[in-house]
């Protein structure tokens, strides 16, 4: 009897903490998909009128903004960042997994150092760096700067995948006359496809979600989805329904990418190497 009572207390405490958040989430979805709203969370009339930005303009100040240009810019930004992270991490991850060299421990601890002195507090310096290298206010330059932040953790992720490839495969390929690069390109990359997908998603997602780099280093005339949402909030003339709808639209692509890439990449090739489970 006492045990059941305990369980109920746990449920009640957890619910009390969770309810404010649930209200926020429900209000968010209700606001996006309805015309009017009752008591903050009860949608009154189901409608998609908030999603009209998909085919017409966004009523934002005096200028009329269209979402698809902004969407493509964001896609470009996130893809460049994701690709940069993927290429750099697959190269470095291989070296960290298979080669011995000085400074390996330092490279592996980069993630911690980067968290300690984070990119956010170096933003002023990065601003000037991009200014003098003529990369400021340009999507590729800022995307590269953003990518550099995700490299330390991305390297850790992909190193785990490289570690799972048996040494025998590598040795037999080398005996057959593979160079290091051929080994990396022809033997390892096909074997760690799921890892490549994971790292790409990692780099893409963080660039897609990024706000402060985009806001500071790209000009106001090139809004991405994150700065668009912030800009709409700052003007305070647009109603919350539209912002909620745009936010939902903003959150979806990484989800699609994840589902799509998971299907394509989780098909690990059948490996016949010795010592493979």
């Amino acid at each position: 009897m006492k045990k059941i009572f305990d369980k109920w207390i746990i449920y009640i405490i957890l619910s009390l903490i969770a309810i404010p958040f649930l209200i926020m989430y429900i209000a968010f979805f209700a606001q996006a998909f309805s015309k009017g709203i009752l008591l903050g969370i009860i949608p009154q009339k189901l409608s998609f009128s908030n999603f009209s930005f998909l085919w017409s303009t966004i009523p934002w100040g005096l200028e009329k903004t269209r979402i698809w240009g902004i969407f493509l810019n964001t896609l470009l930004f996130a893809s460049i960042s994701g690709l940069a992270v993927t290429v750099v991490c697959t190269l470095t991850g291989y070296a960290l997994s298979r080669l011995e060299f000085r400074g390996k421990a330092f490279l592996l601890s980069m993630q911690l150092i980067l968290h300690a002195v984070s990119g956010q507090i170096l933003l002023i310096a990065i601003f000037f760096l991009l200014l003098y290298t003529k990369l400021l206010y340009k999507v590729p330059g800022v995307a590269l700067a953003r990518a550099s932040l995700e490299i330390p953790l991305g390297v850790w992720m992909i190193k785990g995948f490289f570690d799972t490839v048996p040494w025998d495969i590598e040795r037999s390929a080398m005996i057959d006359g593979c160079t290091r690069f051929q080994l990396w390109y022809k033997i390892f990359l096909p074997l760690i496809k799921p890892g490549i997908g994971a790292v790409f998603i990692w780099g893409f997602l963080f660039a897609w979600h990024d706000f402060i780099y985009v806001y500071t280093l790209l000009p106001g005339t090139v809004p991405l989805l994150s700065t668009l949402v912030q800009g709409l909030l700052a003007t305070e003339v647009v109603d919350y329904g539209i912002i909620a709808a745009i936010s939902l639209f903003y959150m979806l692509p990484p989800l699609f990418l994840f589902v799509f890439l998971q299907k394509a990449l989780m098909k690990a090739p059948i490996m016949g190497g010795k010592g493979m489970a």
Binding site: L91, T92, V117, I121, L122, A125, R180, F211, T227, V229
Partner: protein, 299 residues
């Protein structure tokens, strides 16, 4: 000998892209921020070295805002950090006691902040606590006949701390629940047979076993609270009247809002130094190896 030189070439081929990118966008900025801190750089972008003027302005309190910023930062950290760690510990201890489906639902609710973009998380908080009758909580209160409360004027700091704290909770909860799940069941069963209550089991069995995860998460989130200003920037922008402006945000605003890049850099330099000292202390406590290995759990 030949073999060695070959090895040298091959590893540099694989390493150079990351070394170049990270040093270009990371190590050079560290040097640059220290250099700019000694100039009075403004929107004209002219390099005039002024020596220690920026730092004197900080330390001799010529800037009337500084005491307030320091007070805000201290309040922000000393209430945000315990909220994150104790909150996450509390939630993970409770969710481990209830059935699987229910605990998954609760954990999903608390993990949501990690999945949404910062802008959307900021928007949710800004909108929920809006002072007019359009705010989520105010419109609910209106249903009960309560007049709108100006949340952001009454307690802006509390809102900012909760928004950041629950973001931290989402990560810490993930680490703690996986750590609790890895504790052999025998320990807690034995304690329960001996008649230990929930509180006693948690206090004397589980928490001592979670010593390392708790310490690493504390260190991690301490750094997060010192460094991150994005969410405060999004939710209040440091206002109203600098009530939520913390040190890092003040550095950002000085540079990009008031165009005092030199002064902003000197504020950030203080942060860089604090962080490096903190990092050294932490490495001393934890040891390099442990800190590196810990990252395996956290993805």
């Amino acid at each position: 000998m030949r073999k060695n030189s070959l090895k040298f070439h091959s590893h540099w081929f694989f390493l150079s892209p990351s070394v170049l990118l990270v040093s270009f966008f990371y190590f050079i900025p560290v040097v640059l921020v220290f250099t700019i801190a000694f100039t009075n750089m403004d929107q004209l972008f002219s390099w005039r070295f002024v020596g220690l003027v920026n730092f004197l302005r900080l330390f001799t309190l010529k800037d009337p805002l500084i005491p307030r910023i320091i007070k805000n930062t201290i309040i922000y950290i000393i209430s945000g950090l315990p909220l994150t760690i104790i909150g996450a510990l509390f939630i993970s201890l409770l969710t481990m006691r209830i059935n699987r489906t229910a605990s998954l639902i609760f954990r999903a609710i608390f993990f949501f902040p990690r999945l949404v973009p910062p802008v959307v998380w900021g928007f949710l908080w800004m909108w929920s606590f809006e002072g007019t009758r359009y705010g989520v909580f105010n419109s609910i209160l209106k249903g009960f006949g309560v007049s709108p409360i100006h949340w952001f004027i009454e307690s802006p700091m509390l809102i900012v701390i909760c928004a950041n704290g629950f973001l931290g909770i989402s990560l810490a909860m993930l680490i703690f629940t996986s750590a609790i799940a890895s504790i052999p069941k025998d320990y807690t069963w034995a304690a329960e047979i001996d008649g230990a209550s929930f509180w006693q089991t948690s206090r004397f069995i589980i928490i001592p076993l979670l010593k390392w995860p708790i310490m690493t998460m504390t260190a991690w989130h301490l750094m997060s609270f010192i460094n991150s200003y994005v969410y405060i920037f999004l939710i209040t922008g440091g206002g109203p009247y600098h009530a939520t402006e913390v040190w890092a945000l003040y550095g950002y605003n000085s540079a990009f809002k008031n165009y005092q890049y030199g002064y902003g850099s000197s504020i950030m330099v203080i942060l860089v130094i604090i962080n490096l000292v903190l990092l050294l202390v932490l490495l001393k406590i934890f040891g390099m190896r442990r800190m590196i290995e810990r990252s395996r759990i956290e993805v």
